[in-house]
């Protein structure tokens, strides 16, 4: 049993009564509070502006960066279309064309679609939840800088004629055998960005679960927050298989370990499985947030609450689950058994049902409401028209026999662009028009918006509708040119014309977005008359988000709680003040959103920028095989991160609890499951465990798919050392948990002894594990290679765990970690729970499987 830490519990009346809320706040108190709050949340000025970490700033940069990458990828698409306008064109060379389409797809997917969801969510989610900021603002900033550095590196390669050129799904052996750094840029650059994506997902999930305003139970939170939760969870389980795949892929590229080389027992199909286990959920990761935007726009337009709230939530969750069971429909032509094809055909059709429910719920909302047509709604209607078309071709493609024909042709190109434009681009643009007043107190132009819409919409259809036919008439995708006289000429010409009409539409939109709006009149605070909390924001004048964090009891508080806005502005609700001049937000319980803690959030800093730059170095240098600079850069990144954590997280507060407003006293420090940090570790490690599971899946995949795994007479890992490693990891775990328990019990010295012993034992375990495989030749066959990969994975994690243990030891010695304030060691022991399980599984696979095989 863990002894309670002795930290105070929340004290005081909750929920607030009407009388409490009706009591006015004196004017001078209001002003004093507001000025303190303003000072605490002030955005840095001048060149220090880039040290900002507040969600509105980071969110804005994130959105704009993703938009710029999207425009660059769009220009690539225009070059592609020009090249294909006429047969046997020689505008660009085959090699350049292959780089262009690879980069177009990769950039749109990894530098636009997914980051755009995270960017928009970082920008808007705290507003919708009445939170001051995300729970880990510096993590958002770190993620953003990683995204920027990685994105510039990846997309920049095209200007040096060094871009990846094997298609955005990088099938080996083509991509593994490709000469030049292109494939490495793709693997390492995008892995770097994927790590940042996962970081953002973790933060968004924790933000949704723990930073809602008091009273906002899960069943009344805005639908957008539900979608964030679902999509965040999907990112957590979808990206790790790809990262595991990237890890194996890069080991093959750098050290010739034959994971995907069939001549040495490898199998290119493993990459296809790992890629599409990521790749299909990815489609829904892109699509669901856009539905979420529609779910915010539609009630406003229909001027009534969304119809079928719980249906929509269940469907979103259902879509999330089902999307993990469809990946094989990208592999229908690989010769898999008919039974698999039938199963995945049916599963692919089944996903139509939850998608249909969501769309029909929107229809029903419009039906039951009194619709007031607006520009955002126009874009949503366009999205629906395009998306349903993509959905219907999707229903056709899900039938394996149809797919045998259409697969890898322009029919697919048409289908995927219909789903992505309808399911992402149009709703996001609708969102830009709708949420623009959230960034500036201006509206975008109605006239330009209509022009942009009709140009984009007609251009899009002109470009992609003919492609269905081009594909059915036999034109494969990814060809840099084609012979004339096959009936494809005029179809391609129409598509090219359409692409340029669409580009004109985008240009109009972008101009409308960035044109100076100084002379335009300011608009009122809630221009669309929306019902959710983000419209309480008074941006950009005030960086604090909400003046005070409201008590929310309805789904559309601005419609249903008429006094809320004035009370909120008066600072009547929670956290109306920043007495200590620190940035704070409220942490509430997961289900019922009862206030549990006042969370200090971090402010402007350079350290995230440095950390991101060095992390970038650790990923980018290896693409040129510069391993020493990479290792130095990685070490510096670790130093930066340790400095950042040491100076800004889990700080011992000046007082245990503080007045949060309305008579409520809340603790200012939390450890273990009560703290947001613990949740973040838990969620991160779930993703990490998924990546590890993907590697183990790889082992069993080789075992089932290949008759010579392990090959006859293969050397195995040394059983004695494996047993030793397993023992060491178990002991290390006991020591770590023991240190946590002893520390909390006040027995600091024994706890420190445990924290000295544990890293030594963990290091011994990792060494034993590596020692068990060190005599195997990983380049000779996939069997020793996968054993090595598992051992490296565990060794690297152990290294991170050892650093964490030493961090706790230092914390204990320097007074950052005490029996009362022990969040760090809770997080570290949680990390070790996961790593210990992984290590024991790895030991079982390495040590016991040779017996079973």
């Amino acid at each position: 049993m863990t002894r309670p830490s002795g930290l105070p519990q929340p004290e005081g009346p909750y929920p607030p009564t009407d009388e409490m809320l009706a009591e006015p706040v004196p004017r001078d108190v209001q002003e004093a509070q507001a000025s303190r709050l303003r000072a605490a949340w002030e955005t840095p000025k001048g060149w220090r502006y880039i040290t900002a970490v507040n969600n509105t700033e980071v969110g804005k940069w994130y959105c704009l960066t993703a938009l710029v990458f999207m425009l660059l990828a769009g220009v690539m698409a225009l070059i592609i279309r020009l090249q294909l306008a006429v047969p046997e064109n020689d505008l660009v060379s085959a090699d350049r064309f292959n780089q262009l389409f690879t980069m177009h797809g990769s950039a749109m997917m990894f530098l636009f679609a997914v980051p755009m969801f995270e960017a928009v969510s970082i920008l808007l989610l705290p507003g919708m939840l009445g939170a001051r900021d995300m729970p880990f603002p510096r993590l958002s900033a770190f993620g953003y800088w990683c995204f920027l550095i990685g994105g510039v590196f990846v997309i920049g390669s095209i200007f040096f004629d060094a871009a990846p050129r094997a298609g955005w799904f990088m099938y080996p052996p083509l991509a593994t055998k490709d000469e030049g750094p292109g494939s490495d840029i793709w693997l390492l650059g995008l892995s770097f960005i994927e790590v940042a994506s996962i970081a953002a997902a973790v933060e968004l999930i924790v933000g949704t679960l723990k930073c809602r305003p008091p009273g906002m139970r899960v069943n009344i939170m805005p639908l957008y927050a539900w979608y964030v939760l679902v999509v965040g969870g999907m990112i957590l389980f979808a990206f790790p298989p790809l990262i595991a795949g990237d890890f194996l892929f890069e080991l093959e590229r750098s050290f010739d370990w034959p994971f995907f080389d069939p001549t040495r027992g490898g199998d290119p199909m493993l990459w296809q499985h790992l890629f599409w286990i990521f790749g299909h959920p990815e489609v829904y990761i892109i699509f669901l947030p856009s539905i979420a935007i529609a779910a915010m726009v539609i009630p406003t337009v229909a001027r009534r609450p969304i119809f079928g709230y719980s249906w929509i939530v269940l469907s979103a969750v259902g879509t999330g689950f089902l999307s993990f069971g469809l990946w094989v429909h990208h592999m229908f032509t690989t010769g898999l058994p008919s039974i698999s094809l039938g199963f995945f055909s049916a599963a692919s059709e089944a996903v139509v049902i939850p998608t249909g429910i969501q769309i029909f719920a929107f229809l029903a909302t419009l039906m039951a409401g009194r619709v007031k047509m607006t520009l955002p709604m126009l874009w949503i209607s366009g999205a629906l028209a395009i998306f349903t078309m993509g959905g219907l071709t999707g229903v056709m493609l899900a039938l394996a026999p149809f797919d045998f024909q259409a697969h890898d042709t322009y029919f697919i190109v048409a289908h995927l662009h219909y789903t992505l434009f309808g399911g992402m681009v149009f709703p996001v643009i609708a969102g830009v028009y709708y949420f623009f007043p959230f960034i500036q107190k201006k509206l975008m132009s109605d006239r330009l918006g209509k022009w942009a819409f009709w140009l984009t919409f007609s251009g899009f259809n002109l470009c992609f509708l003919p492609m269905h036919l081009t594909g059915l008439w036999g034109m494969p995708r990814r060809v840099y040119t084609y012979p004339g006289g096959l009936g494809w000429d005029w179809l391609n010409l129409i598509s090219t014309v359409g692409a340029f009409v669409m580009a004109a539409g985008f240009a109009t939109f972008v101009w409308d977005l960035i044109r100076p709006k100084h002379r335009q009149a300011q608009i009122p605070r809630n221009p669309w008359d929306g019902g959710t909390l983000e419209w309480t924001h008074d941006v950009p004048e005030e960086a604090w988000g909400v003046r005070s964090i409201p008590h929310v009891t309805t789904r559309y508080p601005l419609w249903d709680q008429p006094d809320m806005l004035t009370r909120l502005d008066a600072g009547r609700y929670y956290l109306p003040d920043a007495q200590e001049g620190k940035r704070e937000t409220l942490v509430t319980s997961v289900i019922d959103a009862e206030p549990v803690q006042v969370q200090r959030v971090t402010g402007p800093t350079w350290i995230t920028l440095w950390a991101a730059a060095f992390t970038g170095g650790a990923f980018i240098f290896p693409t040129f095989s510069w391993y020493t600079p990479a290792i130095i850069s990685g070490a510096l990144a670790i130093c930066c991160i340790i400095w950042w954590l040491w100076t800004a997280t889990a700080q011992v507060p000046e007082a245990d609890s503080k007045d949060a407003g309305l008579g409520l006293r809340l603790p200012t420090y939390a450890a273990g499951p009560a703290s947001v940090g613990w949740w973040a570790i838990w969620i991160t490690m779930l993703g990490d465990a998924t990546a590890f599971a993907s590697l183990v899946f790889g082992f069993f995949f080789y075992w089932t798919a290949s008759p010579d795994f392990p090959p006859d007479g293969a050397a195995h890992a040394v059983p004695g050392l494996i047993a030793l490693a397993a023992l060491a990891f178990a002991v290390n775990w006991a020591l770590t948990v023991g240190a946590r328990q002893l520390n909390r019990a006040g027995r600091v010295t024994p706890a420190r002894i445990c924290l000295i012993a544990a890293p030594a034992v963990a290091a011994a375990g990792a060494a034993a594990l590596v020692g068990a495989v060190i005599d195997l030749e990983p380049a000779s066959h996939v069997y020793p290679a996968i054993l090595w990969a598992l051992a490296i994975w565990i060794a690297v994690h152990s290294g991170a765990g050892v650093i964490m243990q030493l961090y706790c030891l230092a914390g204990s010695l320097f007074g950052k970690l005490t029996p009362r304030y022990d969040a760090d060691i809770w997080n570290v022991s949680l990390f070790w729970h996961f790593v210990t399980i992984s290590a024991l599984v790895a030991c079982a696979v390495l040590g016991l499987m040779p017996e079973a095989l």
Binding site: V301, M367, P483
Partner: protein
């Protein structure tokens, strides 16, 4: 399927348009529930069940066993190595970049690849099937009408993926048997002086290091077998026609016609080029 799709598209979008533009006023809540359950659940379940049963009933076709003849095709960058194994044969008939099939018979096509993944596809005859290095996949085709169809690689396989095509010729069984017999025979000797000079050039330029012409000392296996190249429909895996002019252009411009192709460009005198082309064109 197309009609159904258009109908459903009109239904959903029409309803949307009606709700938002034609009659923006409020309807009864009751209708809203009907629309949610009817449109979101009942309609797709019914439509999809019918579609699945119908669609999956076609699933086994391309995997049915063949009637005897097996064609083994290996994807190379960027051409097709083709072997015919008639029933009971113990050595194959070797050729390249052209598939001939008897009509009315189901032929098994066994697929594999040299280095990277390709995909075998003759749109007019059936679906596609991927070709993997180190693994064999199978598709069986049953051509119903004689004719020449275009086939091509459908999986992106590198720089000249666009130019990896072939002709697929469906023939009456008797014609097919005759053709296969002549294809199995050695190459015909050069019949003109130009062709004879071309044959010597073929040797002296080292073409035989990569290409085989059966019945001569040229036995290379790196590139396509050229024993009967003159009788094929296309040159360079669907790139050009097999005429003296096209052959000359091909030999002197391989890298332009097919980026990154292994075959080097030959910088020959014009008359040498036409001799060589004449020899190859004569290899009927």
């Amino acid at each position: 399927m197309l009609v159904g799709a258009v109908f459903l598209w009109l239904l959903v979008n029409g309803a949307f348009y009606y709700m938002s533009r034609v009659r923006p006023g409020a309807f009864d809540q009751r209708y809203a529930r009907h629309i949610l359950i009817g449109g979101g659940i009942v309609l797709p379940v019914v439509v999809l069940t019918v579609l699945l049963v119908w669609g999956l009933s076609m699933l086994p076709d391309p995997r049915r066993p063949g009637d005897g003849l097996v064609v083994r095709v290996t994807g190379e960058q960027w051409w097709w190595r083709v072997e015919y194994w008639p029933e009971g044969a113990d050595a194959p008939v070797l050729t390249a970049n052209e598939i001939r099939l008897p009509v009315g018979q189901r032929t098994e096509i066994h697929l594999t690849s040299d280095k990277v993944i390709h995909s075998f596809w003759i749109p007019a005859l059936g679906g596609k099937m991927d070709m993997f290095p180190g693994r064999e996949t199978m598709i069986s085709l049953l051509p119903e009408r004689p004719g020449t169809y275009r086939g091509q690689c459908a999986e992106f396989c590198g720089a000249s993926h666009a130019w990896m095509a072939f002709a697929a010729v469906a023939m009456e069984p008797a014609d097919f048997d005759r053709w296969l017999a002549s294809e199995a025979a050695d190459a015909v000797p050069p019949s003109t002086d130009a062709a004879a000079r071309g044959a010597r050039l073929f040797r002296s330029e080292g073409c035989g290091a990569c290409h085989a012409v059966r019945g001569t000392e040229n036995v290379g296996q790196v590139g396509p077998d050229l024993t009967h190249v003159g009788s094929r429909q296309t040159l360079g895996a669907g790139r050009l026609k097999v005429t003296i002019d096209d052959l000359s252009i091909w030999i002197s411009h391989t890298d332009v016609l097919k980026p990154e192709v292994k075959m080097p460009t030959y910088d020959l005198e014009p008359d040498q080029l036409s001799d060589l082309a004449a020899y190859l064109e004569g290899l009927k």
